[in-house]
Symmetry: C2
Subunit: 305 residues, 2 copies
C-alpha cells in the first residue's frame, strides 16, 4: 500500500530558495520582476495570473500584470513583448495562454527574449535543455524533477517511464530524467501494450490527459508515480468508477457536479505503487513554485550579461 | 538469419532528391551554396571536407572551402561566421570539427545563423526539432530515419530503442522516432540490464561508441538494427573476438593493423536480427547524403524569408 506523495516539502523548499534568492538580489540593488501578459477575460486565466502575481509579492519581488482586450492585434501584442524584452527592469515575461484565435501564439512566444522566458517554451530554451546548456526550462517538469530528487537521491540507472509526449511536460521531462542518468521510455497514445513497459519502471510520470488511465496494472510494486494530469470529470459513471462511495472526491462531485481527477487511477495505483501524488494539490503547487525559481534565475542571469 | 541492411537505395534516393532540388532552384535563378569552414590540418577532416565539397559539385550546386591556420583567433573565426551569415549567396554553413583548443566550439557553432546551420546543431534547431517546428536537423539521425522509413513504412506504435544519448545522434534520433509515433526508450552507459529492454525493441539504433557492444543477446528476432558506431580496432584480441578468421575484416586488420568496427557485434547480431547495417559503408553515406538534402532545404527556405 502506497503513501500519498506529499509535494509540500519540495514546494516549501523551492519557495524558500526563491525568497532567499530575491533577498540576495534586492540587497545587491536588483529587484527581480515578473511581468504577466494576459489577453481577454478567460476566468481561469485571471485566477492563475492573480495567484502568480500574489506569490511574487509574498516572496518580496516585483510583478506587473498587463491586461489587454480580446481585440488586441497580433502586431500590438508583438510590440508589447519587444518593449518588455528591452525593459531592463523586467526579468521574466509570461504570456498567459490561451491567446485569441486571431493571434499566432507561436509567433508571440517565439518573440520573448529567451533569457526572460520564464515558462521555458522558447525553441532556444528547448534546445539548451536538450543539449545540456544553461537556460530557463519548463516549470512543471522542473518542479516534478525536484520532487523526484527529494524522494530518490540515487536516480542513476533508474528506469523512468513518461506517459505523454507534450512539448510542455512529456518531452522536457524526458530530457531532465535523461540528464539525471535515468533510462527513459516515452509512451503515448500509439504505444502498444503500454502496461507492459510501464510495469518495468521505477518512476512513472503521467502527463497524457486521460483521466484514471494509469492503474495498478501499469505499476511495479514500489514505483514512484507523479500525476501531472488535471482532468475535469463531469460524468457520474466515470466518477463512480474512480472514487469510493464514501470518499471526499465523491461528495465533492455530488456537491458541484464536477471534480478534478488525474491521469492516475488513484485508489487502484495506491494498491501497488510506492508513492502517488494527489490531484489536485500535488504537482500544481510545484509548477507555480518553480515559476518563482525561474524568475529569480532570470534575474540572476541578467547580471552576467 | 538477418540480411545485411543495404543503405545504398536510401542514399541514392536522398542524393537524387538533392539533385533535382538543386536543378529546380538553379532554374529559378538561385544557386544553392554550401561553405565549409575548416581550421588546422587534421588529415581526416581534410578528407571529409573534400568529400562534401566534391558531392556538392556532383549534384550541380555551389560549394566553398575556407581553410584557416590552426592559430586563427576565436574572434577572427566569429567574424568569418558572421560574414557568411550576412552573405546571401551562402545557404549552408558547416564548421568542420574538431576546432583547436583555444577556440570555444560552442560559441562558434551558436553564432551560425540557424537557417544556414546544415549540421542542425544550433540550439534553435534542436529546439525546433523537439517542438515539431520546421528547421534544419542533424544529418546522421535524419538519414537513419529515412533508412528506417524505407524498411518499415508502418512505424506507428513500434518500440524503438536508442543506445546512446549524444546531442549529435542519440537525442535527435529519439525526437525523430517519437514524431514518427514510435514508443521510444533511451539507453546509455548507466542503464541497468540494457539487454532486457533492448530485447523488446522492433528497432535498435546503436550510437554509443563501444565496439561490438550489441550482440544477439540484445535483440528480438527480426529487429531492425542501425549501427551508427564507428570504432577503430587496433587490438588483435578484440578483432579476433568480433571477426571470423576467414573474414574480409580479419584480413583487412592483418594488412593494416587496424579496422573499423561498429557498436554492433555484427556476426552475432546477424543470427537474430532482421536487418543490420554494416560498418563502414552503412550509416556513413546516409549522413553525407542528408547533408546534401539539408543544403537544398536551407536554400529553399531562404526564398521564403
Amino acid at each position: 500500500m502506497a503513501e500519498i506523495w506529499n509535494t509540500q516539502p519540495t514546494v516549501d523548499r523551492l519557495l524558500s530558495e526563491a525568497k532567499s534568492g530575491a533577498e540576495r538580489l534586492v540587497q545587491a540593488g536588483l529587484i527581480p520582476k515578473l511581468t504577466v501578459v494576459r489577453v481577454g477575460n478567460h476566468p481561469a486565466s485571471r485566477v492563475y495570473v492573480q495567484k502568480k502575481v500574489q506569490m511574487c509579492q509574498d516572496l518580496g519581488f516585483g510583478s506587473d500584470h498587463l491586461q489587454f482586450e480580446e481585440s488586441i492585434s497580433e502586431s500590438e501584442l508583438l510590440a508589447t513583448i519587444i518593449g518588455l524584452n528591452n525593459d531592463k527592469t523586467v526579468h521574466g515575461i509570461l504570456v498567459q495562454l490561451p491567446l485569441p484565435d486571431h493571434v499566432n501564439a507561436e509567433k508571440i512566444l517565439n518573440a520573448i527574449d529567451p533569457d526572460k522566458d520564464v515558462d521555458g517554451f522558447h525553441p532556444v530554451n528547448v534546445g539548451r535543455l536538450s543539449i545540456g546548456q544553461d537556460g530557463l526550462f519548463p516549470c512543471t517538469p522542473m518542479g516534478v524533477m525536484e520532487l523526484i530528487r527529494d524522494a530518490e537521491p540515487q536516480l542513476s540507472g533508474k528506469h523512468a517511464v513518461i506517459v505523454g509526449r507534450s512539448n510542455i511536460v512529456g518531452k522536457p521531462m524526458a530530457q531532465l530524467l535523461l540528464q539525471a542518468n535515468c533510462t527513459v521510455s516515452i509512451l503515448h497514445s500509439r504505444t502498444q501494450n503500454p502496461q507492459q513497459l510501464a510495469r518495468q519502471a521505477d518512476i512513472v510520470v503521467a502527463a497524457v490527459g486521460r483521466p484514471g488511465l494509469i492503474d495498478a496494472d501499469w505499476l511495479k510494486p514500489g514505483a514512484l508515480v507523479a500525476d501531472v494530469g488535471i482532468n475535469e470529470l463531469t460524468d457520474a459513471d466515470q466518477v463512480a468508477r474512480f472514487t469510493a462511495p464514501d470518499s471526499k472526491k465523491r461528495s465533492a462531485f455530488e456537491r458541484n457536479g464536477r471534480v478534478l481527477y488525474g491521469d492516475v487511477n488513484f485508489d487502484s495505483a495506491m494498491q501497488v505503487a510506492g508513492k502517488v501524488t494527489p490531484v489536485p494539490g500535488g504537482v500544481g503547487p510545484l509548477t507555480i513554485a518553480h515559476l518563482m525559481v525561474n524568475c529569480i534565475r532570470a534575474a540572476e542571469r541578467s547580471r552576467h550579461e
